[in-house]
Symmetry: C3
Subunit: 204 residues, 3 copies
């Protein structure tokens, strides 16, 4: 089996998303089935919501053996080597940012292919990148990190808008536009994470 560079990036992202689900499950003292379920929901939740909204069924993960294998591997590794995995925080947040970038662009491309308005395509990109984490937090009974902390959806949104604008107004499309947009998302996400930047929060 020969993996393309894009597939490798997507698998790293899927792996990191699944680890974040598994970690949340361990923090909540879930059992092994709960851990596996939460790893899956976190990793495939965003793409699943996207596919449901546009009517692309059976949803993507059902026929994506490679991703499913990565998720199961992430669940097993997180279970067996939890204290070690926690120390890889920096590496995992890099993979997670790559996942955010890749999933955002995948979601936008699916929206464009479905003939939807461009702002809706950007929304689908952000949903693809972020709703797995939202489902994880809602199931765990935590306030959504997505909505309350960190530059996460904002990075996805910025890169998604760039991707659409580049394609629409400067004619930059295809691999170049995708690579640049993913790089922008990863950079915004990681730089803001390292510097603990946050969006303005609103208070009553």
């Amino acid at each position: 089996m020969h993996l393309t560079f894009i597939q490798v990036l997507e698998l790293l992202g899927t792996f990191a998303f699944a680890v974040s689900g598994a970690t949340a499950a361990i923090n909540k003292s879930y059992d092994v089935i709960g851990l596996l379920a939460l790893a899956f929901i976190t990793a495939i939740g965003g793409g699943t919501v996207r596919d449901l909204l546009i009517g692309a069924t059976p949803v993507a993960w059902m026929t994506d053996e490679l991703s499913n294998t990565a998720i199961i591997a992430a669940a097993i590794i997180a279970t067996l080597f939890f204290s070690y995995v926690k120390k890889l925080n920096r590496l995992l947040s890099t993979f997670d940012a790559i996942g955010l970038g890749m999933f955002t662009i995948t979601g936008i491309n699916k929206g464009v292919a479905a003939g939807l308005p461009l702002p809706v395509c950007v929304a689908l990109g952000v949903i693809t990148g972020t709703f797995g984490g939202l489902l994880r937090d809602v199931i765990c009974g935590e306030q959504p990190i997505l909505f309350t902390r960190e530059i996460y959806a904002a990075a996805s949104l910025a890169g998604g808008i760039l991707y659409i604008v580049a394609g629409r107004y400067s004619g930059v499309t295809g691999d170049i536009a995708q690579s640049v947009s993913v790089a922008v998302i990863v950079t915004i996400r990681l730089v803001s994470l390292r510097n603990n930047w946050q969006l303005p929060r609103l208070r009553a």
Copy 2:
């Protein structure tokens, strides 16, 4: 652009639903992205669940530019003028009741058009009117207002049953039946809200 009276009513309802999402986000100290997301989810959540259940994809909001504009406007206004918006409580709850009424009837009509049994159509109407608020409360980690306080789903249910019964047994359909049913929902909702009426709550 010329808006019909029905479109104006629906936009007022959408606006009020979005404001309730934005207000909940501010009460939870969400950031600006979280506020925008929760405004959208509250405003389009009910119609989206309905469309998913009957297989009407891409779901309605994706091609409803007018509603999306109203939601973004609501999010911006709620953010910039929060302390002022809070004082408009009475006006907003009227708009919200109008939204509940309009969405209920829209949902029923979609169910009828899909050839579903009439009780299921009523359920789709109630889902359209109320599930946006349910999603808002679940995401915020609050007990659903829908299920625990106030005559809300009950107003939608009463008007929905009236609409179906009027069409089925007295032959009153179309604009007249719709107007009367919406008026009934708005009246039940607002009168019970002003008088703080509640449904019986069950206790273990």
Copy 3:
């Protein structure tokens, strides 16, 4: 109306699932509409998620008058005879286990009919059997019982794998394979419940 034995088993399961939703609603002091809604969501939630994922719309409950009647009956009985129903704990948990078994096999059969990979079919079976309870817990703001306590999803998973393996490798299919698999799920569930067996829980 003549019910087959299979229909009777499915109705007992649906009834028990609806009672568990109604009981959760009463424990949270929901109103009567909230109780009815939570009874429905618990009873039809798993099948609905399954149908959405594979694109089988309108989702099954919309045209399943028999199940809907059982759910409404369960909601009424739980409301009127709550203190009595609580004492039927043992009977209800048996019905619930039967529901878990029946729904698991139904879900797998739908996945196979949709031509999905066999491990995905097993996942669809587990989703059908368990996601109603997951939705119930998330809406109520409780940690999902499914993920944290008791052999529940694990029983569904074991019976589902048995059903697929029996069909694939020993050629045992149809009524015999289904009956044995349901019996295995019911047995694992009830024996572990009586003995208070739990899966290993993971701790940070």
